[in-house]
Subunit: 173 residues, 2 copies
Amino acid sequence: MKILEDNIRAIPDFPKKGIIFRDITPLLANPNSFKATIDALCELAIKSDCNKIVAIESRGFLFGSAMAYKLSMPLVIVRKPGKLPWKKLREEYSLEYGTDAIEIHEDSITTSDKVVIVDDLLATGGTAHACANLIRKAGGSVSSFIFVVELEGLGGRETLSEPVQSLIRYKEE
Amino acid sequence: MKILEDNIRAIPDFPKKGIIFRDITPLLANPNSFKATIDALCELAIKSDCNKIVAIESRGFLFGSAMAYKLSMPLVIVRKPGKLPWKKLREEYSLEYGTDAIEIHEDSITTSDKVVIVDDLLATGGTAHACANLIRKAGGSVSSFIFVVELEGLGGRETLSEPVQSLIRYKEE
């Protein structure tokens, strides 16, 4: 989608040397590109057999929220450790150095739920994979993963068991 | 709004003893209450003389995103330190112990901008106040603050110079 390409800014050497960061703030700031993005993400969600939108903190919130609103679907949030106040499940995952974790409220997923997991970016897939594990721990199933941006060549798509869909792809060397 | 009250869960002693946490995850999970919330927030934004929605990380993203989508208005994000990749402005503010900071992209606000600042919760108003300072530093002006939940009695409303609107208020002792 050209309107997406035109509104994603490539920033070299962020957060560290050699990385090209794909900055979505221009996309958010342009109502036409934001609408085109949300509408395209919603089309992908409609084609998935799903009944809930799961958004990953925190840039996933920027897309999952408007999708849930447009589709009139329940919105479930997956957060960084210590943020959710109720009974929760936790999943750890590896980073380049060390580990991180995400959490979900136990009561946010039931055994009949089929969810789409939404985030802004697919890179190595660590967080998305952990998120899918959380959904399964909670008793639900994952219909698909939906991303705005996919960085190809980092193994993200291969890490994930369920279908992966993305609106725009960049080849990482 | 009764549908909001019914879908905000009071959790005692989170994040620490004596605090009643107002959990908005049931509100997100119920499409009717989420729609009612977003529609009511949008009505408040329409009544403000504004041309941009500014959402504060990260729960502000959950509301600002759907508002920007519905209103076809630009969405600007204010983030925790180190997250934004481009040229940015920074504002520090005091916490109970120590300080924190938020950042905004320099180019996200122009001198003709009048914004509404959106977040889920107004407590002491520290973050919202810092956010307004950031908008002014960037050259814009603040039309109003819009919150889903306001905790009265913590001085938040008094801390802020511009009009404050909220959908639901709780009296804190």
